[in-house]
């Protein structure tokens, strides 16, 4: 069970603090946590920390925390609890706070302190979880969320995802989805909307000879519903995108999902509560139905100290960044890129080539020349001149692919069984996106 829960800003300022059991020291525990976190030796994990020594009432207290949207969500406990359960609770709390406050962040939390405390009051009682269902909590929450600016559909212009923490996070989150689920309970003109995102994280490792060493796709189907509760039965129908059927290695569904028709018709039915819900998670390894989104052909010549790399993205992609660690002491860099408006730069000992937008099927090439100081010492002990010096590569790419899933899985229909209650038909937004978790090419 949980003794305390608190939220700290990225700088360690306490935003929320709640003691559930009164069996622990007091507020300075938050300060203690931050001090411990920042003073931790590099090889120790901050996920679970224990207090030792010092003042007695803090002794043997375990801190378990997650970092979410730049905030620290921390619980303390003195029991030997299930770490899986607690971490799950923390991420659920993060989602819940996001649902109720619109989005999770330092600003939204401090604007909605009353609401957050009210929520915590209902979610946890004497350190035990009561419920984390947005739907159920709705009956008990009186405070309205304070939103910084009113929501408008025109903000939808950018492609956005509500939950995915993509590498750049530039496109996400769109303000359409980042508004409180329940803010306008009394407001009849509320938009009935459902957002469905299929998000895939891709991690790929390619050997220097071009052979594929590892492909891993982690996919999620997430649903965020702004529909008034109780009025609808929502259905998500899934159809295979390619060939006879999509293959997934590992799949798990949320317990709300009715799978009766999944085997026969690939239909998932569910009655989602308001707020965000991960309908399905899946994994796919090794064999992808579609070719990899990028191909990189590096060619490096050492005697002249130049390297050329060619990039061939398949689908349209956004925010592409090539990151190439360079040997220490690189003195100069000259570049020759396929398009004059592009630019690669040196930053923190690495080459960074940013491409905000890349058309599908195009080929880009870059020629980089640099001077690397030779390692001192007699060359007889060193490497032969053809081998790369220490510190070059591996190249990694980060990118986002809108409207593309690497597994080929697509949500073909999102159907709502809807009982009209004065409102217009609900809007449905279905989005697909793949983004890179790690896309590494050895050189």
């Amino acid at each position: 069970m949980i003794s305390q829960f608190f939220i700290l800003s990225s700088k360690g300022d306490p935003l929320i603090y709640k003691d559930f059991r009164g069996d622990s020291g007091g507020r300075d525990v938050a300060e203690l946590f931050y001090r411990k976190l920042t003073g931790l030796p590099g090889d120790e994990s901050p996920v679970v920390m224990v207090t030792t020594g010092g003042r007695r009432h803090h002794e043997g207290r375990h801190f378990i925390h997650i970092r979410h949207s730049g905030l620290y969500l921390v619980v303390t406990t003195s029991e030997n609890v299930s770490p899986f359960g607690l971490l799950e609770l923390l991420s659920r709390l993060a989602t819940l706070l996001g649902d109720y406050c619109g989005s999770l962040g330092e600003g939204t939390i401090s604007r909605n302190v009353a609401l957050v405390y009210e929520l915590l009051d209902e979610v946890l009682d004497y350190g035990y979880v009561q419920t984390t269902s947005t739907e159920m909590l709705r009956n008990f929450i009186q405070t309205e969320a304070v939103v910084s600016k009113p929501f408008s559909l025109f903000d939808l212009s950018s492609v956005g995802l509500f939950g995915a923490e993509t590498q750049q996070s530039k496109v996400a989150p769109s303000s359409a989805a980042s508004r409180p689920v329940l803010s306008s309970r009394s407001d009849q003109s509320q938009k009935n909307e459902v957002f469905l995102d299929v998000v895939e994280r891709l991690s790929v490792l390619i050997a220097s000879n071009g052979s594929l060493l590892k492909v891993d796709v982690q996919g999620e189907i997430r649903l965020k519903s702004f529909l008034p509760s109780g009025s609808v039965r929502r259905e998500v129908s899934l159809f295979p995108g390619y060939g006879p059927g999509i293959r997934v290695d590992e799949v798990s569904f949320h317990s709300f999902v009715n799978l009766d028709e999944f085997e026969s018709h690939r239909i998932l039915r569910l009655q989602p509560p308001q707020g965000e819900l991960t309908v399905m998670r899946y994994q796919l390894s090794d064999d992808l139905p579609s070719p990899l989104p990028f191909r990189l052909f590096p060619s490096v010549q050492w005697d002249r100290g130049s390297g050329r790399s060619t990039l061939e993205p398949k689908p349209r992609s956004l925010n592409v960044r090539l990151h190439l660690p360079l040997p220490r002491g690189v003195i100069s860099l000259s570049q020759e890129l396929s398009s004059p408006e592009q630019k690669a730069e040196l930053a923190e000992g690495a080459l960074r080539w940013d491409l905000p937008r890349v058309q599908g099927g195009s080929q880009l090439s870059g020629l980089f020349q640099m001077d690397v100081p030779r390692p001192p010492g007699p060359p007889s002990h060193g490497l032969s001149t053809s081998a790369p010096p220490l510190g070059l590569g591996p190249a990694s790419l980060s990118f986002e692919l809108p409207r593309h899933t690497c597994s080929g899985l697509q949500v073909r229909f999102l159907r709502l069984a809807f009982r009209p209650c004065g409102n217009a038909n609900p809007h449905k937004w279905v989005r697909h996106l793949s983004h890179s978790d790690a896309y590494v090419i050895r050189i």
Partner: protein, 691 residues
């Protein structure tokens, strides 16, 4: 009750839909196609037409006061409800009326109503709450039949499915259950099987733990469960949440201790990605070391070699140590990689590689030749103490195979004055003496110089003593030196000691899904040892041992104070309430068990003393006012076994001493000793503060 209030009537939606569109057939899946934009109503197919009217009619009948007054007619209507219910009609519409009908003296009617309630309670959780009142009342009915009936019905009111938090809690609770027979055990396992497929990691891990513990006598069941949990664990290992990923990795390592091959085919899942935080990378490298086998060793080593040149020196070194530990099994491949790394001429890499070599030749003597060939040139890239020690050790022990060994050591001897680490000098002395035994001609001169320096100029005593020792040893004769210094150069058996055989699953099953794998077993042991005192008395959570250091006891006295709980198991109960009368009576009826005199100089502050005693749970019953001569106080305390300690303090300023008399209601010398020492410490502390 508040818990139950929260059950949300999800089913209501369905009910409302039914009433609106009662006769529509269930729509066919084919009709989904083509109308993706429109909304659709789905309803449940009705088995019987006209149930609406039936419900309405029954409702009216149940509400009719005339019928209610006539016991038989009332019962008849209820029977009809039950009949329809049995036929499959939805009778939940009359739930409210049926609840009212439960308040009756007619047992038959009661039974019928309870049958109805148990059937529909899951659909109407809110209304079922109303029935609980009646059920509670029936539980205290004089008629045992009614009591039994109510109790049974209450137990079968299955109003809600547990959510994931509830499930995890119940799974945890079930750990306490001991199945009576094998049959029951497997029944339980079958029942819980679905939880292994839950979407919530907390529930899956909770179920896994329960399985592992219940099936402790069936290793094949345990293995089977661990195979099934592989998927969820691997998914958690590549989760977007780093924290979850870390915890999952810790559990993977735990499983690997028992089943080394368990994740071998999934080795790629444990490759590090550049954006991961350090602590995850380190865990992954550990996992890779543990799952390596004949099939994947090539790929794993290839991957690890990539990490060795990582920008982060810490991570690079961890990867090199990892290769070193794999080298115990796959020596040749690893030594080759490590040798190549030396060619990079990087300080942070070279030092770790040399340390790895040192440990390796000790365990795997077959690689000595390869290591000796790789060493020349390393000395240029080593600056730190650990690396230098390792290199010097290697040169000393295997110097006869390294042609330039004396010259490398000579450099160290030349620079010994500027050497900052005493440990390096010690190592140098030993190494040079060893090399002198195998290559005397090249070493004699510099050994003399080194010994001279160490004995005459060195300021570090340990180094000086070592130098003197070797000098005297040489005076005894070269044979004696050989006998003492030429020990075995390797010990392959040590590797077996370091890698204990596979641990049985049962050794860690109870730690699964707790913080133990996250901290690591040894770290956990220190943590729980530190807080052992806190854990020993869950019934008396506020019982504090004397280790409580209140604000009155200054920092410098802490060490003394904390010795006390180790010496005895005395636990004093806080807030002991004794009346002065009771104290007096008890005091007079007992004999003095212990009397002692403590020195006490100068002024005296009774309040300070009282507060200090309070901190250690010794209560003051009565005391003289401040300034009274002689001054007296009566104290009481009780330990957790119920033993009372009554104390009289008597301060005589003229003698500069405090007399303590303690009485005990049970004769227990051990606890008495602990108590006296507590008392002494407090009085001593106050005395020190004062002075």
């Amino acid at each position: 009750m508040s818990q139950k209030k929260r059950q949300k009537p999800v089913v209501w939606v369905e009910q409302i839909l039914l009433k609106m569109l009662p006769h529509q057939d269930e729509e066919e899946p084919a009709s989904y196609r083509g109308s993706s934009g429109s909304c659709l109503v789905t309803i449940r197919k009705m088995p019987y037409l006209g149930s609406e009217d039936v419900v309405k009619e029954l409702k009216k009948a149940l509400c009719n006061p005339h019928i209610q007054a006539d016991r038989l007619r009332y019962r008849n209507v209820i029977q009809r409800v039950i009949r329809y219910m049995t036929q499959g009609l939805d009778m939940s519409g009359v739930f409210m009326e049926m609840v009212k009908a439960s308040a009756t003296v007619d047992i038959v009617q009661k039974k019928l109503v309870y049958l109805y309630m148990c059937t529909y309670a899951p659909l109407k959780p809110d209304l079922a709450l109303l029935a609980i009142n009646t059920l509670c009342k029936d539980c205290s009915d004089p008629n045992p039949m009614v009591r039994g009936l109510a109790l049974r019905s209450m137990c079968s009111l299955r109003m809600s499915k547990l959510d994931q938090w509830g499930q995890a809690e119940v799974l945890n609770f079930l750990l306490r259950y001991q199945p009576r027979s094998e049959e029951e055990l497997f029944d339980i396992l079958n029942l819980l099987d679905s939880f292994l497929k839950s979407g919530s990691p907390g529930v899956v891990m909770g179920a896994t733990k329960l399985f592992l513990i219940l099936a402790k006598k069936f290793p094949h069941v345990q293995t089977d469960v661990l195979v099934r949990v592989k998927g969820p664990l691997l998914a958690a290992c590549s989760s977007e949440s780093r924290e979850l990923c870390f915890v999952a990795l810790c559990h993977v390592r735990q499983i690997l201790h028992s089943l080394p091959g368990h994740f071998s085919s999934h080795y790629k899942k444990f490759f590090c990605s550049y954006s991961e935080p350090h602590y995850i990378k380190l865990q992954k490298v550990e996992v890779l070391c543990e799952l390596v086998n004949d099939e994947n060793v090539q790929q794993v080593l290839e991957e690890l070699r990539g990490y060795c040149t990582d920008v982060s020196a810490d991570f690079a070194q961890a990867a090199i140590f990892a290769i070193g530990s794999i080298a115990r099994t796959y020596t040749d491949q690893c030594v080759q990689i490590l040798t190549e790394l030396l060619g990079l001429r990087q300080e942070h890499i070279t030092t770790v590689v040399v340390q790895t070599f040192r440990d390796l030749v000790w365990l795997c003597p077959q690689c000595t030749e390869a290591v000796c060939q790789a060493l020349p040139g390393c000395e240029e890239n080593i600056q730190d103490s650990e690396g230098k020690q390792a290199l010097i050790w290697l040169l000393g022990v295997h110097g006869e195979r390294i042609p330039n060994a004396p010259y490398v050591l000579e450099d160290f001897v030349e620079n010994v004055k500027s050497e900052t680490f005493p440990a390096v000098k010690m190592e140098l002395l030993t190494a040079l003496l060893r090399l002198f035994l195998s290559r005397p001609a090249e070493c004699q001169d510099m050994l003399g110089r080194l010994l001279y320096y160490c004995i005459e100029e060195e300021k570090d005593m340990a180094v000086r003593d070592r130098g003197l020792f070797y000098y005297r040893l040489l005076l005894v004769g070269i044979d004696e030196v050989k006998r003492i210094l030429c020990s075995p150069k390797s010990d392959p058996t040590l590797g077996l000691l370091e890698d204990p055989a596979e641990r049985p699953v049962n050794s860690w099953a109870s730690d699964f899904n707790t913080l133990v794998p996250v901290y690591g077993k040894s770290r956990w042991a220190t943590i729980s040892k530190c807080h052992g005192a806190e854990r020993c008395g869950p019934e008396l959570p506020k019982t504090s041992s004397f280790a409580a250091s209140g604000p009155l006891i200054p920092e410098e006295n802490k060490e003394r104070v904390q010795e006390v709980p180790d010496s005895g198991t005395l636990m004093l109960v806080p807030n002991l309430q004794l009346t002065a009368d009771y104290f007096e009576k008890t005091w007079l009826s007992l004999k003095v068990a212990h009397q002692q005199v403590l020195p006490w100089q100068g002024e005296f502050h009774p309040d300070t003393l009282q507060m200090a005693l309070q901190v250690v749970n010794i209560q003051t019953i009565a005391m003289s006012r401040a300034g009274a001569r002689p001054w007296k106080a009566y104290l009481s305390a009780q330990d957790d076994t119920g033993c009372l300690f009554l104390t009289e303090l008597l301060w005589k300023p003229e003698n500069s001493e405090m007399q303590i008399s303690v009485k005990q209601n049970e004769t227990r010398t051990e606890t008495l000793k602990s108590f006296i020492s507590v008392l002494e410490t407090v009085i001593g502390t106050i005395e020190e503060i004062k002075s």
